[in-house]
C-alpha cells in the first residue's frame, strides 16, 4: 500500500488530509512538527510527504532539507498558505516536488500526489 506522511501542527488539517488520502486507498502516517516528521520518516519510509511549512519546533522547510539530506529521493509536497512566497521558493529550491495552497482543493492535492508518485 502506498504510504503518505502528513505533517501539520494543526490536528484538524491532519484529520482532513488523512480522511482524503485513506479515502483514495493510501496508508497514512502523521507527524505534528518538523522534528517529528524526520523521526516518522526514518521509521516508516513513506512514499510521499505532504508537509506544512509553518510549524513550531522545526519548520517544514528545515524538515524538508533534513529529510532530503538522508533521502535525496524523498518526494515532498509542501502545504502552504498565502503570503509565504519566499519560503515556498526556498522549499522548491531545497527539493520540494510541488506545493499546494491552503485551504487546499482536494483534487489539487490528489493531482500533485499522483504526479510525484509517478
Amino acid at each position: 500500500m502506498t504510504k503518505i506522511m502528513v505533517v501539520d501542527d494543526a490536528k484538524f488539517m491532519r484529520v482532513r488530509l488523512s480522511k482524503l488520502l485513506t479515502g483514495h486507498g493510501y496508508e497514512v502516517v502523521e507527524a505534528e512538527n518538523g522534528e517529528e516528521a524526520i523521526q516518522v520518516y526514518k521509521a516508516s519510509h513513506p512514499d510521499a510527504v505532504l508537509m506544512d511549512i509553518t510549524m513550531p519546533q522545526k519548520t517544514g522547510l528545515e524538515a524538508l532539507i533534513e529529510i532530503r539530506g538522508f533521502d535525496p529521493q524523498a518526494k515532498v509536497i509542501m502545504l502552504t498558505a498565502l503570503g509565504q512566497e519566499s519560503m515556498v521558493v526556498q522549499a522548491v529550491q531545497s527539493g520540494a516536488r510541488d506545493y499546494v495552497v491552503k485551504p487546499f482543493d482536494p483534487d489539487r492535492v490528489m493531482m500533485a500526489l499522483k504526479k510525484v508518485l509517478g
Binding site: 484538524f12 484529520v15 516518522v40 521509521a43 498565502l82 512566497e85 519566499s86 531545497s94 485551504p103 482543493d105
Partner: protein
C-alpha cells in the same frame, strides 16, 4: 436527507476543530496582551503562527470572513516580526475586538449558522494599523483558476553573458544539445516565484542549466516578471524537455526551442549522433544544498506517529467516578463484614485470608480512586488564561493602570470545579480593579506605583486548592462597611460596635451590601459578594477576605480537590450516623476534658486561647419523634471543633465513630432544603449517613442564637 451544511465540517471533526481554534484564539489573546507590554520575538512568532493556523482552518471549512480577518491579523503580526510595527494599546484594542468577532464566527461554524455580520469596518480598522508601515496585504484567497493545460509561448529570444556563451560552446563540443526554454505564470496565481523556481528545478532534471533569468536568488526575493527563461544543455530531445516543463502544474505557458549561440555555426546537433557514454553529469544544484548523508538506518520511532492521548467524554469520566464510588462503598462494607466475622469466629484461617485480601483491595481501590480523580483534573490555567484580557478591559474602562500577575496556573483541580470557579474569580478580579486599585493620580499622590498590581494565584495545600486574589489597592474600610450595614438594616448599631475589623470587613459578603460609592458599568451590577460566597460554598469551598486600609485586599478561596468522594469523620447522634467533612475539622475532644462555660446564655468552651461557641448537634438534629431516645453516653460524648472560613465552632456529638471515605449522594429534591445537611451517603453496612453542611450549620446556629439572644 442530510441538511445542506453551510460550513464544510463533519460532526466527528468538530471537537478537534474547536480545540484547535480555541487554543489558537487563546494564544493570540495572551500574546496580544503581552505584546502591549513588551515586544518579544517569540511572542510575535507565537501569535503569528496562531493567526496563520486559524486562517488555514477557517479557509478549510469555508468561513471566508474568518479567513479574511485572520489573514489581515497575520499580516499585522508579520509586520511586527519584521520590526515594521510595534504594538500599542490602540492596536491591541483593534486586535482584541477582532478576536471577539472570531469567537462569534467560531460559534457560527459550530452551529452551522451564518450570520450577516459585516466585517468591512473591522477589516478597515485592521488595515489602518498597517497604513504607515508600507506593508502590503496580499489577497486572502488564491485565484481558483486551475490551468492544467499549459499553452505554448511564441518565439524565444535569449541573450547570454560571455561566461554562458563559453559554457554553451563547451557543451556543444561535448556533444550536448542546447535548448532555450521559457515559462510564464499567471499574475494572479499564488506564489508565482515558487512556480518559476519549480520550472527551474524541472530544467535541472533535463540537464545542465547554462543560463537562467531570473536567478534562484532573484526568485527567493520575488524579483521576476512572471516569466523565466533558460538555456539548458542536455542529451534529451526537445519533446522530453518540453514534457518536463509541462509537468510543472499551474504554469501559464511554456516553450522549448533549439538554441544556437552567436558565433557558432548554425548547425544544430543532429539527433542521430551517437550518444556518448554518460559521463558523470555535474548537476547544477542550487547553493545551500545540504550534504548528502548516507541513509541512516538509525533508531526508528514508529510509535511517534501514534497519538499519546485519547479524548474521553466527561460523561464517561463521571460514570467511572460513580463506579469507583460504588467500589469504595463495597470496600467499606467488606471491612464491616470482616470485623463481624472476626468477632464471631476469631482469627480463623479463611478470615485471615479475607483480612489480607481486604487490605489489598483497599489499596487498589484507593489507587484507582486517585487515578480516576486525576483523570478528571484540569489545570486551572484553563480558567486563569481568560483573566488577563478581562483585567485589561476593566482597567482600561475604569481609567486605571493595573498589572495582573498570575501564578500557579498548573495547579490542577476537578473539572466540575473548574467549570464553576471562573465566575467567582472574575467577580473578585473586577472588584479589585474597579474598587480596590486607585486611579493612577491618586496612587501617585499616595506615593504608590501608579500601576496597581493584582495577583491571582493557585496552590495546593493539604488536600485543598487555595486560590487568592490580592490587590495593592485602597483596602476595605471596616468603618464604612459597618456604617453601610447599619444603614441597610443588616445589623444594629450595637452589633456593629461589637464587631472587630475582620468581622466588619466580612460583612461585604452579606446580601444587599454595596459600599461602592458609584455604580460603574463594570462592577456593581447587582451581583454582589454574597453571590460569590454562595457560589463558592456550593462547591464545598469557602472564601475569606483580609484587608488593610491603604495597603490592599486579599480574597482567599479554599476548594476541595474533588466533590465526588469526601474524607469524613463519622459521628453519631441518637444512634444515627452523620458525616463531617474532614477538611472542616480542626480536632476532636472529649466533652469531659474541656470546661464548658456560659457567655450571655450561650455555651462556649475555652480552647487554645480562644473562645469557641458550642453547637449541640444532639439538640440541633433532634426530631419530635425521637423524644426519649436521647440518652447521653456520658463517657463518649465528644466535641468536634470545626472551622469554616474564619468561623469556628465546637460541635457536640454523642459519639465519634471514625474516619471514612464516603461517596457523596445528593438528596432527593423532594426533601427540600434541610438546614445543616448537604447530602447523604451509604455506609458499609448499608445504612445511611447524612453529611453535615458545616457552613450552613454554623450559619443556622448563629442565627438561632442571635434570635434566641435578642428575644
Amino acid at each position: 436527507m442530510t441538511p445542506q451544511m453551510i460550513f464544510d465540517i463533519e460532526p466527528d471533526e468538530l471537537g478537534i476543530f474547536l480545540d484547535e481554534v480555541n487554543e489558537h484564539l487563546q494564544a493570540m489573546e495572551s500574546g496580544i496582551l503581552e505584546l502591549e507590554e513588551v515586544t518579544d520575538p517569540d511572542t510575535v512568532n507565537r501569535v503569528f503562527r496562531a493567526a496563520h493556523t486559524i486562517k488555514a482552518l477557517a479557509g478549510t471549512v469555508g468561513h471566508h470572513k474568518m479567513q479574511e480577518l485572520t489573514h489581515t491579523m497575520e499580516t499585522i503580526f508579520d509586520a511586527m516580526r519584521q520590526d515594521k510595527l510595534i504594538s500599542n494599546p490602540e492596536i491591541s484594542d483593534q486586535l482584541l475586538s477582532t478576536l471577539d468577532l472570531l469567537q462569534l464566527f467560531r460559534d457560527e461554524i459550530v452551529n452551522q449558522e451564518m450570520s450577516d455580520i459585516d466585517i468591512s469596518e473591522q477589516l478597515a480598522g485592521l488595515r489602518a494599523i498597517l497604513d504607515d508601515t508600507g506593508v502590503p496585504i496580499a489577497a486572502s484567497s488564491a485565484s481558483s483558476a486551475k490551468s492544467n493545460g499549459n499553452r505554448t509561448a511564441q518565439s524565444i529570444t535569449v541573450i547570454l553573458s560571455e561566461a554562458a556563451q563559453a559554457a554553451a560552446a563547451k557543451q556543444l563540443q561535448a556533444g550536448k544539445k542546447l535548448f532555450a526554454a521559457v515559462a510564464t505564470v499567471k499574475k494572479d496565481g499564488f506564489a508565482p516565484a515558487a512556480r518559476l523556481a519549480q520550472a527551474a528545478m524541472a530544467m535541472m532534471d533535463a540537464g545542465e542549466i547554462i543560463h537562467q533569468k531570473p536567478t534562484m536568488d532573484d526568485l527567493a526575493e520575488a524579483k521576476h516578471d512572471f516569466k523565466i527563461e533558460f538555456v539548458v544543455a542536455t542529451e534529451k530531445e526537445k519533446d522530453a524537455v518540453s514534457a518536463l516543463l509541462a509537468d510543472v502544474v499551474d504554469l501559464d505557458t511554456h516553450a522549448v526551442e533549439p538554441f544556437v549561440p552567436e558565433g557558432v555555426a548554425a548547425t544544430p546537433p543532429v539527433a542521430s549522433e551517437p550518444e556518448k557514454a554518460s559521463e558523470p553529469k555535474p548537476k547544477a544544484k542550487p547553493k545551500a544544498k545540504p550534504k548528502v548523508k548516507p541513509k541512516s538506518g538509525g533508531v526508528s520511532h514508529p510509535d511517534l506517529a501514534i497519538e499519546k492521548t485519547v479524548r474521553i467524554g466527561v460523561e464517561r469520566l463521571d460514570a467511572l467516578m460513580n463506579l469507583v464510588g460504588e467500589l469504595v462503598t463495597d470496600r467499606n462494607r467488606l471491612l464491616q463484614i470482616e470485623s463481624a466475622l472476626l468477632n464471631a469466629h476469631g482469627k480463623d484461617g479463611p478470615i485471615t485470608d479475607l483480612t489480607e485480601m481486604n487490605g489489598h483491595l483497599g489499596r487498589v481501590v484507593d489507587q484507582l480512586q486517585e487515578e480516576v480523580m486525576h483523570a478528571r483534573m484540569l489545570p486551572i490555567g484553563n480558567t486563569f488564561n481568560k483573566m488577563p484580557r478581562l483585567v485589561r478591559d476593566v482597567s482600561r474602562a475604569a481609567g486605571k493602570q493595573v498589572s495582573l500577575v498570575i501564578e500557579g496556573e498548573d495547579t490542577e483541580l476537578d473539572r466540575s470545579l473548574i467549570e464553576f470557579i471562573g465566575d467567582p474569580i472574575i467577580h473578585l478580579l473586577r472588584n479589585s480593579v474597579d474598587h480596590g486599585i486607585e486611579p493612577p493620580d491618586v496612587r501617585e499622590k499616595l506615593g504608590k506605583n501608579p500601576t496597581g498590581t493584582v495577583m491571582l494565584t493557585a496552590t495546593h495545600e493539604e488536600g485543598h486548592i487555595v486560590i487568592t486574589v490580592k490587590d495593592d489597592g485602597a483596602g476595605i474600610d471596616p468603618e464604612k462597611v459597618k456604617a453601610a450595614a447599619v444603614r441597610r438594616g443588616l445589623i444594629t448599631k450595637d452589633e456593629a460596635a461589637q464587631l472587630d475589623d475582620e468581622e466588619a470587613v466580612d460583612l461585604i459578603f452579606r446580601p444587599n451590601l454595596s459600599t461602592a460609592e458609584k455604580v460603574t458599568d463594570i462592577s456593581g451590577r447587582g451581583v454582589g459578594m454574597d453571590v460569590v460566597r454562595a457560589n463558592i460554598e456550593r462547591l464545598s469551598g469557602s472564601v475569606i477576605v483580609t484587608s488593610k486600609v491603604g495597603v490592599g485586599t486579599t480574597f482567599r478561596i479554599t476548594l476541595p480537590l474533588t466533590l465526588a468522594i469526601v474524607q469524613t469523620m463519622l459521628v453519631s447522634m441518637h444512634n444515627i450516623a452523620y458525616a463531617i467533612p474532614l477538611s472542616t475539622i480542626i480536632e476532636s475532644l472529649y466533652y469531659a476534658d474541656v470546661s464548658v462555660t456560659s457567655v450571655k446564655g450561650s455555651q462556649v468552651i475555652h480552647w487554645r486561647d480562644s473562645v469557641l461557641p458550642l453547637i449541640d448537634l444532639r439538640e440541633f438534629f433532634i426530631h419530635p419523634r425521637m423524644n426519649g431516645a436521647h440518652k447521653t453516653d456520658g463517657d463518649k460524648t465528644a466535641i468536634v471543633t470545626v472551622a469554616w472560613g474564619k468561623q469556628r465552632a465546637g460541635l457536640v456529638v454523642d459519639k465519634i465513630l471514625g474516619k471514612q471515605d464516603i461517596v457523596v449522594k445528593s438528596l432527593n429534591p423532594i426533601m427540600g432544603e434541610l438546614p445543616g445537611i448537604s447530602g447523604g451517603t451509604i455506609l458499609g453496612d448499608g445504612s445511611i449517613a447524612l453529611i453535615i453542611d458545616i457552613p450552613g450549620l454554623i450559619g443556622a446556629a448563629m442565627q438561632a442564637r442571635r434570635q434566641g439572644a435578642t428575644v
